[in-house]
Structures are given as C-alpha cells and as structure tokens.
C-alpha cells in the first residue's frame, strides 16, 4: 500500500483553499488566515519507488505547479502510522500538526483535517486513476482511495475545528475524518444465498401492521397482497414484497393523484385524469405526440424533429446530501428524455430550487438538518458539476426562499430532449427480445430511494438513510448518452427506459407489463461483491438504462457499446406469459403476475377539506419615499440577482443559445425566458420558462396555480413567443396529503390547472408530484408551503424575432399592457412589512389570452424593443430591472396606469402583483402601429426611457414618489448573493 500527497508549490495561491477561507469567515470564525488543500491518494499495490515516482510525475502532480511525496508504510500499517507520521512538517508549505496530537504539544496556530469517503461510497476519481495508471504501463494497482487534507492556519479551538468540519468539510452521510491509524482498504463482504420468505399468511393484524410499516404499504394494500398470496398458497419472498412496494409507491404510481377523493359534495375519481390530463385530452392538439405515457412528454418541433420535456424533483436526497442528491437529480432527469420514445438527446436543463433563507439562524436549526446555506451551495455545486460535465446548457431556473423549506428543500431538475419525430413513440418489444442493461455497474447506492422519497423525513433521516443517497458519475452517463444515440440511429433496440427510482424493479417491471419477463439477477454486473438478489433488483445505482434488444442485434449492440468502453449486459428476456420471474443462480426468487403487480393495487379513498385562511389585513401607511421600499424588495432573497448561481452553469455549451439567462448592456440583467435553437442550421427556436409562486398558495392554492401558469406563459410572450404551440409540465410539491386540508389544497390547485390551461389552450404533456414534504422534530411538524412549479416550452417560428427585457434607447415610450388590481396578498411588498394579506392575484384567462395574442403580433411585426413581465415586486421591480439592465433611466407616471379597481395608494399601484401584465418599450416612430395592434383596452403609455441613469416615478397626484439612481438599485439587487 502506498500513500501519495500532492500539493501546490508554496509560492502559488490555492484557489480551493481561499474559497474555504471565505466560507469559514461566513461561519463567523475570522481567525483563519489561510487554508491549503492537499490531495491524498492511497494505492493498494506493491510498486517500486521509481514507478511511484512515475505515477506522481506523469499523472497525479502537475510538474509546473505542484510538488508531491509518496510513502510506503511497512506491512503493519496501524502500528507504524500511529507511532510516527512521516508527513509532519516536511510536506506542508507551513508547519502544521496532526489532529491526534491533542495530548502532546499542540500548535494552535495550524491545524490539519483529513477527510475521505466512507466505505461503499464510490469516488469516481478512483476508476480514472486505475485507467490512467494502465495507460502509463503500470499494472497491479488493485484499488485506489482518495482523501483530502486541509491545512488551516490560524487560532482555532477544538469546538471551532469541529464546527468547520461539520459545516463545511464533512458530510457524515458520505465522508468521515480520517483517524490515521484506522485506514485500510475494506474487504469486500461476501454474500451467501438464502431465499427469504416473509410469513404474511400466518400473521395477526398487529404483526401485519409491522410488515406494512417495513415496506411502506397501506393497510388496504397489504390486505390485497395477503389475498393474492393466499390464492397462490404460499408466502411472498422479500424481493416480491420489495417489488410491490416500489411499484405501488407514491413516487412511482402517484396514488394520491389517482385516488377517489371526496371534497365536500364533490367526488373526484382520479384527480390527475379529471384535471391535468383532461386539459390535454379536450384540447386534442395534433402536435402533442406522446403525452403522459412515457418518461417525458413529446411534442412536434418542425415536422422532422420532436421535443420532449420532463421535470423531476430530487428533494429528499438533496436534504440529506445536497451535492450528491442534486447531482443525481440531474443525472436522473437527463435519463428521462434519453428513455423517451426511442431516445432523445438532452439539449437543455432547467433547475428550480426552494430553500430556507441563507441567513437562517443556526440556533433555530432543527437537529439533524443541514443549514440552508450549505444546502444551497451543495445543491448548486451538484447541479453545476453534473450538468456542465454532461455538456447540457442550464438556461433557465428560479430560486425561492421560505423558512418552511428548512428541513425539506425542493430541488426541481428539468431536461429538454430532441429526437427524430418518427422515433417519438414508446417502443414495443417482442417476446424473445433480450433485456439488456447498459451503463454503470450496480452497487448498493440508493437502496430504497423510492420509498424514502415517498416518506416523511425525521431527525434520524440524516443518519439512517445513508444508503438511499445515490452517488453519481457524470462521465459514465455522458459515455452512455454518446453511445446510446449511436445505437438508436442504427436501430439496434426496440424499446428503452431509464433505471431511476426503484431501479431495475421499476424499469424492467414497467417495460414488461404487457408481455412478461424473466430476469437472471446473477447476470447483473456489480461494482463490488456481496449484494443480495433483492439489493440487485432494487438498487438505484445511477447511469443505467434498460433496453429491449432483438436477439439478432444483441452482439452488434454489445460490441458497439464496448467500443467506447460502456458495458452492455443481457440480463434476461421478455416472455409472453405476463409474469415477472426473477431468478438468482437458478433459484426462483420471485414470480408475480403482471396483472397483480400493475393492476392489483386498491384505489384508495381520501377525504379532503378546503377552507380559506384569513390573514390580518395590513394597516401600515404609505411611506413618503418609495425608493427605500423598492430597494428593500430588490434586495430580498426571492427577487435579488441569481447571477452567482447562473454564471457557474455552462449556458453556452451545444452552441444553441439565442436568448441567455443574463441579458442587457452588461450581460447581467434577469432575462424572462431562455431561447435556444435546437437544430443548429434552422431558424426555429424553443422557449423555456417557468412559473412558481408558493406565497400565493398560503391564501388560495387555486390562484397560486393560476398565477404560476400565467407567469410561465407571460415569460414566453415577453421574449417574443406566442401561445400558438405551448406545452406545460406540472410539478406539485406538497406537505402530507394524508391530512384532509393538505389534500383539499392540492385538489384546488389541480382544478385551477384545468380551468386556466384549457382557456389558454396550453396542454399539459407530463408532470410529477412529490408529496409528504414535512419534517417532524420535538413533536412539531414543519410542512413546506404548497408549491406548484409550472414549466413551459413554446415553439418559436423565427428566433430572429426574440426580444430581451433591457431598455434599449432613450426617448422610447414605455407602455403597460394589462390592468392593475389591488392585489398585494402574498406579495413581496407585504412580506417586507411582515404581512401576508388576503387579496391574492387572480387571473382572467379569457381576457389575458387576447392580450397576450395581440402582444405576440406586435412583437412579430418588430414593434417591441424591450418587454418584461411584471411578477414579484410588480411594476416597481420590473421597471428597475429593465432600467439597470439597459443602463438607461426612466420616468413613469402612476396616474396613467390602468386600474381594474380604484387604488388610492401609489405604493400599492407600484408593487401590486396582478397577473397578465407587461412593461413594453416602443420606439416613438412605432407608436401608432403598436397602439393600433394592441387596441385601446388594457394598454396605456406610462412614461419614457431617459438617458439620466435615474428612475423617477410620479404618483397619482403627480408628485415625485420615487427617485433613485440606477447604480443604487442594481447594487441593492446584486448585493445579497454576491458570494
């Protein structure tokens, strides 16, 4: 065994270390002046010193910037390392002492912390090093383990060191601090086959309850299972119950949405079918090619190509291990388009996060919960690292903050895919086709992820659920995408699906629902030995897809995959007997009828209630100067600039961007929606936007849902799109819907989806829900706010008609399209004053649909110079953003704004969040044409763009109520997240 340390030459600054210094200062520990990071590699091998030197010189260390040292401990590692550390003082750019030296003379000015991954957690770097060593001609490296050693300079006591460890360096779910004497390469555990049967036929009710809890079944479900096996005259095996648990989980089957729900006098049989899916069915758009049946919804793009779109959540894993949870969230959703039709190329990502505010007090943090700042940073890094490596541009997203997301952060990841239109339909396998598993190997990662995702988090979750955290390796997925699309184009498989939640159990189980399948679990390639047949079947190891391959294509397919270093393994065959048969080394371990597996789940009955909550009506007076109020809203967590996040995503890869997330004179203004050109030699584009506003849901989830749809559509219109060909996705994240009031709120939101989307003629094409987002601690329950994310894609005939939101030219006219109501309930303005209010923004879809269509026509004719939708912070925020993004001032007269009802306060007019409104910049020479197209209703000229670098607003009584330099406004907006 060899230990290698690689570190930057002492005179060079350490960027990783300096980043940590900033993070440590953020924790309130200001004594740390410097941090340097040493990369540690343990090689399980017996190599001569000159070979080790070769590995260091030619692989692990950069000869220009780094130094290295290696060490081969004598065979009795433990004793020797304990007795003497060979690394003391001679390696470090500054003197430091080991962490075990507490008993002796401790140098309090410098500290060292060494961190490594836990056993069983795969570090992707290890595979790369093994491969690269072989490239160098070095054989006999049996295993590699990496660690990081942090050298901290500055006065720190033990408590501070522990804080730094716990809050920044170590996540106990995947990592630990190395006690040097304990290091060793773990031996692979062996597995000895025993068929596990679960005796459910002989159990009484209390014992049955225990089985229900173990597998996450409801009482009715277990009754159905008992009845089934009684008929079979045998007990189920563990893997059969696991299969049923996965297949019937909320995550996989959306049982709440499909339940029979009673809300007062109304009886709803399947909420999904009677609201979301009903929109699509009734609109019956010919361009909807494949909806609600595949891993993503598919629409026509240009007659030759099709687009598919899916947004997933990865909330629970991100709560526990933000980096890995979010990274695998990306990995998972990217495999959705890849597993749609016969496979789509992922071409765009969108990510929406909901966190508790970054300044959440540490002392109020529930036990077992990571601080929101850490979750935020970890999630951002996980998303960026995975998506950037896959080469998928992240062009759209949003980040929202509310204290109630503290224990249940929400991480929505979405991917848009492009595939030939003739491959858009879900494939069909024939009996005799082989089940081929492709991509990464199977390990213990993510066991029980689905049942974990569907259950409530508790204080213990962060310690007990570690095996539910999947570990991602984006390069394995990238290889898989590259080769799969080649196999698709050669027509080597008849059907494809992704291995996501529920692993093989869900993927193969669903694929074979109509035919039947026989799977030989011992043929599944494993990362390491020791997995039981059940673990193999339910493992959620990442970067795997399942294919149905005709027997005559199998060799060509396996060879093709091998040519780019990707494993493809036949693990079973499709049958015609409509049974799921699982075998392990010749033993039958599972045998279920497909009819029972997919049709045997009893439809639950649920009670729902809905009663609107009433909040205190705000009673504060209008502030004399509204500049202060505007600055405060611009600097709020929800409204402030997210540039820090956006810049760390690659939004230019694939060379398709037309309208980027950051726009304007200095490339830092907040664009409304992103536009890409999916087919590089075509002028057609696709617009991607989203709408989300959980604050309105506190007042009425119906209007929250309506507002989310309106917002997503507004953004499409604002950038120059039309309502002509727009498709929607829904993602519901809710508290515990077993509570009737939570379920009632869900029903109302879903009803709004039907009512509003039908009139806008925008069909839903896919969706997902994540329920039970609540957290219990000390007997209290924290539920997340009702959160509905609406994601939209719109087809644009000509990308050259795109419009950005930044003001372009002094003396241009500023119009408002849409009427302003006294709708500040749930607004950012009320929030800054500590109120919720009751007057939630509503939507009049008949009216707005006309307005949006007219505005599209005006944009298409080139009459619109800039357009921005009014959302959080209303006209005030939209105006400020347009001004500082364009580097131009504006003068606005509130008395010209069209009011839908009398409003006697300037602040309410300026900050009302009424829906369906746009601020539009029009050149003076286009005034008449623009006004003619828009008609007189709901249109008003309210001011001009100026070259004054000043935003001036005159009140209803024509007095100036707001005058602020653009620099101040922009600074307030950029400051909070300038990390």
């Amino acid at each position: 065994m060899h230990r290698i340390e690689v570190y930057l030459k002492p005179h060079l600054p350490d960027a990783r270390g300096l980043g940590l210094v900033r993070d440590i200062h953020d924790l309130g520990i200001t004594t740390v002046s410097n941090v340097r990071v040493v990369d540690i590699y343990w090689l399980d091998a017996d190599l001569l010193p000159d070979i080790l030197d070769l590995i260091c010189r030619c692989l692990l260390a950069d000869p220009v910037t780094q130094d290295y040292q290696f060490f081969t401990p004598p065979t009795d590692v433990r004793r020797s390392l304990k007795e003497q550390s060979p690394f003391k003082n001679n390696l470090s750019p500054f003197p430091y002492q080991g962490e075990e030296d507490k008993g002796g003379e401790v140098n309090r000015q410098s500290h060292t912390i060494e961190v490594t991954y836990n056993a069983g957690v795969t570090d992707p770097v290890e595979d790369t090093i093994m491969k690269a060593a072989l490239d160098l001609g070095v054989e006999g490296v049996r295993a590699v383990k990496t660690a990081k050693r942090y050298l901290l300079q500055g006065q720190l006591d033990d408590e501070q060191l522990e804080t730094i460890c716990n809050r920044l360096l170590v996540n106990p779910i995947v990592q630990h601090v190395v006690k040097r004497e304990a290091f060793e390469f773990p031996e692979n555990p062996q597995y000895k086959f025993i068929l596990n049967q679960v005796d459910i036929l002989g159990l009484d009710n209390t014992e049955l309850l225990k089985v229900s809890q173990r597998f996450g079944f409801t009482g009715d479900e277990l009754q159905a299972i008992v009845a089934y096996f009684r008929q079979q005259e045998r007990n189920p095996t563990d893997v059969e119950l696991e299969t049923l648990a996965q297949t019937w989980s909320e995550h996989c089957v959306h049982k709440t949405f499909k339940a029979r729900i009673k809300l007062g006098e109304i009886a709803i049989d399947n909420l999904l079918k009677s609201t979301i899916m009903k929109v699509t069915e009734e609109l019956n758009k010919p361009w909807c090619l494949s909806v609600f049946v595949d891993n993503a919804g598919v629409i026509d793009f240009d007659g030759r190509w099709a687009l598919c779109f899916k947004v997933e959540t990865h909330n629970h894993p991100s709560a526990v291990e933000p980096y890995g949870g979010a990274a695998t969230g990306i990995g998972g959703v990217v495999r959705d388009p890849l597993g749609t039709g016969l496979g789509a190329k992922p071409i765009l990502n969108t990510d929406v996060f909901c966190f508790a505010p970054p300044n959440f007090p540490y002392e109020e943090l529930p036990k077992g919960v990571l601080h929101p700042r850490r979750i935020f940073k970890g999630v951002r890094a996980g998303v960026a690292d995975y998506a950037n490596r896959l080469g998928i541009p992240t062009l759209n997203g949003a980040i929202l903050f509310d204290e109630r997301y503290v224990a249940n952060p929400l991480v929505f990841c979405g991917t848009l895919g492009l595939l030939p239109k003739n491959l858009a339909q879900i494939g069909k396998q024939k009996p005799g086709d082989l089940v081929v598993l492709v991509g990464g190997r199977t390990g213990r990662d993510g066991i029980h992820g689905v049942t974990f995702a569907s259950a409530q988090l508790t204080e213990e979750s962060t310690t007990v659920s570690y095996s539910s955290v999947q570990i991602g390796n984006p390069i394995v997925e990238k290889r898989l995408i590259d080769i799969l699309l080649q196999a698709r184009d050669r027509g080597l498989y008849s059907r494809i699906t992704d291995c996501g939640g529920g692993g093989l159990s869900s993927a193969v189980g669903e694929m074979a629902a109509e035919t039947g399948v026989r799977v030989y679990l011992d043929r599944v390639p494993l990362k390491y030995a020791g997995l039981s047949y059940t673990e193999i079947w339910v493992s959620e190891s990442q970067e795997r897809m399942a294919l149905a391959v005709p027997p005559n294509c199998v060799d060509e397919l396996i060879n093709l995959f091998a040519s780019e270093g990707v494993e493809a393994t036949a693990i079973g065959e499709f049958t015609s007997d409509q049974r799921l048969q699982l075998l392990f080394h010749g033993n039958s371990v599972g045998d279920l009828s497909m009819q029972f597996l997919h049709g045997g789940r009893p439809q639950p009955d649920r009670e729902a209630v809905w009663e609107r909550l009433h909040y205190t009506e705000p009673d504060f007076g209008q502030p004399p100067d509204l500049a202060e109020a505007l600055l405060q809203i611009l600097g709020s967590w929800n409204v402030c600039s997210k540039e820090w996040v956006i810049r760390q995503y690659d939004h230019e890869v694939q060379g398709s961007s037309v309208l980027k997330p950051l726009v304007g004179k200095d490339n830092d203004g907040p664009g409304d929606a992103a536009i890409i050109r999916p087919v590089l030699d075509s002028e057609m584009g696709v617009i991607v936007s989203n709408g989300i506003n959980p604050k309105y849901g506190e007042i009425d989830p119906y209007w929250m849902a309506a507002s989310a749809i309106d917002e997503a559509l507004r953004q499409i219109i604002a950038v120059g799109g039309s309502l002509h060909k727009v498709a929607l996705l829904d993602n519901f994240c809710w508290g515990n819907t077993n509570h009737p009031d939570m379920l009632g709120a869900l029903v109302r939101a879903a009803q709004a989806c039907y009512d509003i989307a039908t009139i806008y003629e925008t069909p839903f094409i896919s969706g997902k829900d994540s329920l039970n987002n609540e957290f219990e601690f000390e007997g209290k329950t924290i539920s997340i706010p009702h959160t509905l994310l609406i994601s939209a894609i719109g087809i644009m005939e000509d990308v050259n008609q795109a419009v950005s939101m930044d003001f372009k030219k002094a003396d241009d006219l500023i119009y408002i399209v849409g009427t302003t109501q006294n709708e500040l309930g749930g607004s950012e303005y009320f929030k800054t004053r500590g109120f919720v209010g009751n007057s939630v923004p509503k939507v009049n879809p008949h009216h707005s649909q006309k307005l949006m269509s007219l505005l599209s026509v005006a944009t298409e004719k080139g009459l619109v110079r800039a357009c921005h939708d009014c959302s959080e912070g209303g006209i005030g925020v939209a105006l400020a953003e347009m001004a500082f993004a364009g580097g131009l001032g504006a003068t606005i007269y509130l008395k010209s704004i069209l009011l839908g009802e009398p409003i006697d306060r300037d602040d309410f007019i300026l900050f009302s969040e009424s829906n369906s409104r746009f601020l539009v910049e029009v050149a003076p020479e286009n005034k008449e044409d623009f006004e003619q197209i828009m008609g007189s209703t709901s249109l008003a000229a309210i001011g001009q763009v100026t070259d004054s670098e000043l935003l001036e607003v005159y009140g209803v009584d024509e007095r100036m109520v707001l005058g602020a330099p653009l620099g101040d406004l922009k600074e307030a907006w950029q400051r909070p997240l300038r990390w």
Binding site: V64, K131, R647, E652, V658
Partner: protein
C-alpha cells in the same frame, strides 16, 4: 481541389464535439468525429486528415487535473503520429479542455526538452467555474494561421481551470496569440475581463509553426450573430466572431 478533412477527437466527457463539427461543416469541410479509442486501435488514422481538433469538455471527468488523462493518452499512445502530423503540415486546434490537453501532453507550447511541460493551466483565481463573455485581442506578431486577419473577438469562456501558469523563463518565448482585454482593448485589465487570472492575460497560444493553436474561449459558440449576448440590443450580424477561426483553418489546409 479536394475538400479539407477535419478530425474531431472524442473521449469520455468530451461535450463540445457536435457544435465544433458544425462549425467546420459550415466552412465546407468534411468532418469526422472519432473516439480516441478508434485512433488507438488504429481503426482511424490521423494521417488521413489535415486538421485535428481536441474540443471542449471534461475528458475523463477532469479527474486529477483538467485534461490530464487524455493528455497522457495522446502523448503515450499517439505521440509519434501527432509529431508526424505536425511535421507534415497538419493543423491542430485545442479549445478549452483541448487547450488543457495539448499543454499537459507537451504538444503546446511545443517543448524541446523531452516532454516535461513548461506551461500548465490551474484553477481560476475566483475558485469557480464561470461562464461569461470575454473580449480578446489578437497578437499581430504571432505566427498563428488560425487568427489571420482578425483583430479582436468577443467569445464566451466556460471553465474552472483556465489560468495559464508558466515558468518565468518560458514566458518571453511563448507565442501568445490571444489576450483577454476590457472592452477598450486594454490587455492588462483584471477580473472579470481576465476571467481566470492567467499570467499576462493569456487566452490562447500557438507553437512556432503557427499551425498548432489552443485557446480557452469557445469560438464554436459564436458562429452567428444571434449568439452574441447583445444582439437584441445591437442587431445581429450574419457571422459571429468565432467563425473566421474555422474558415482560416480550412482555407490554410486547402493549400496543403
């Protein structure tokens, strides 16, 4: 005259191959996207092409250091082929990860001391991956054939390890092709104009022949006017600033 044949090398984690291929196709070149394994197995031969490109991405995950593993693969398994390719007048272009690969393989700056690299790229001073647009000034003194007739360019960068570091003795001998500047053309401008802290604001270099060129910014992401981040303000030109790089390469190769 026969068409110019361009080879785009793919490896696990390459992710700018499609748009780089598109850029060359727009110039009328014939483009083959080839996995590095195919070259190593001699299923494809470098000598069949006039232009070799190492595109952007995160080859082998950028594990250990950006571009390191592919650099070793090229150096150890294709080193002689590449040497001969350069001697025979071929052109080599490295973009972003390709720059990291070419320097770590010792192909750039074109070392004469037996393979030990003289120049490397390390983590950005900001400590972050950043995607942003940068102003570039072309060094008119450089022998680079890719940048002929170009004075300035506006291109995006997207990387975490783009800071050029070199031995002080090496610096004066470098053939620097591109400098980061501010919008006025000042090549001493600091962050964010110099997005990574590169010494001397170096954004791209070439070898002494001018035919081996690498840069951190992405010319393939600015081929047409609507890719410019300001096009909705300034109007869209037909071609983006990056297109000329590909056109120059292909025109040069046509004369081979």
């Amino acid at each position: 005259m026969s068409k110019v044949r361009t080879l785009i090398i793919r490896a696990p984690g390459t992710n700018c191959d499609a748009e780089t291929a598109f850029a060359f196709q727009q110039t009328g070149a014939i483009v083959s996207s080839v996995h590095v394994n195919q070259l190593i197995r001699r299923e494809k031969r470098l000598s069949d092409y006039q232009i070799m490109v190492v595109p952007g991405g995160f080859t082998y995950g950028d594990d250990i250091a950006a571009g390191k593993v592919l650099a070793n693969e090229l150096r150890l398994k294709l080193g002689e082929d590449i040497q001969r390719f350069i001697e025979n007048g071929g052109l080599i272009l490295g973009i972003c990860n390709g720059f990291q690969v070419l320097t770590k393989a010792g192909i750039l700056p074109g070392s004469s001391n037996g393979g030990s690299p003289l120049l490397t790229m390390v983590a950005n001073d900001s400590g972050k991956f950043e995607c942003r647009w940068v102003h570039l000034l072309v060094n008119k003194e450089s022998p680079c054939v890719f940048t002929r007739g170009i004075d300035t360019m506006y291109l995006p960068v997207a990387h975490a390890e783009g800071k050029v570091v070199a031995d002080p003795e090496v610096l004066p001998q470098l053939n620097t092709v591109l400098y980061y500047t501010d919008e006025k053309g000042d090549n001493k401008a600091g962050y964010p104009y110099n997005p990574n802290g590169s010494v001397w604001n170096i954004a791209g270099i070439c070898d002494s022949t001018g035919r081996v060129f690498a840069l951190m910014p992405h010319p393939e992401r600015h081929l047409r006017g609507t890719q410019h981040p300001q096009w909705t303000r300034q109007g869209a030109k037909q071609y983006g600033d990056g297109f000329q790089i590909f056109l120059n390469a292909v025109n040069w190769a046509k004369s081979l």
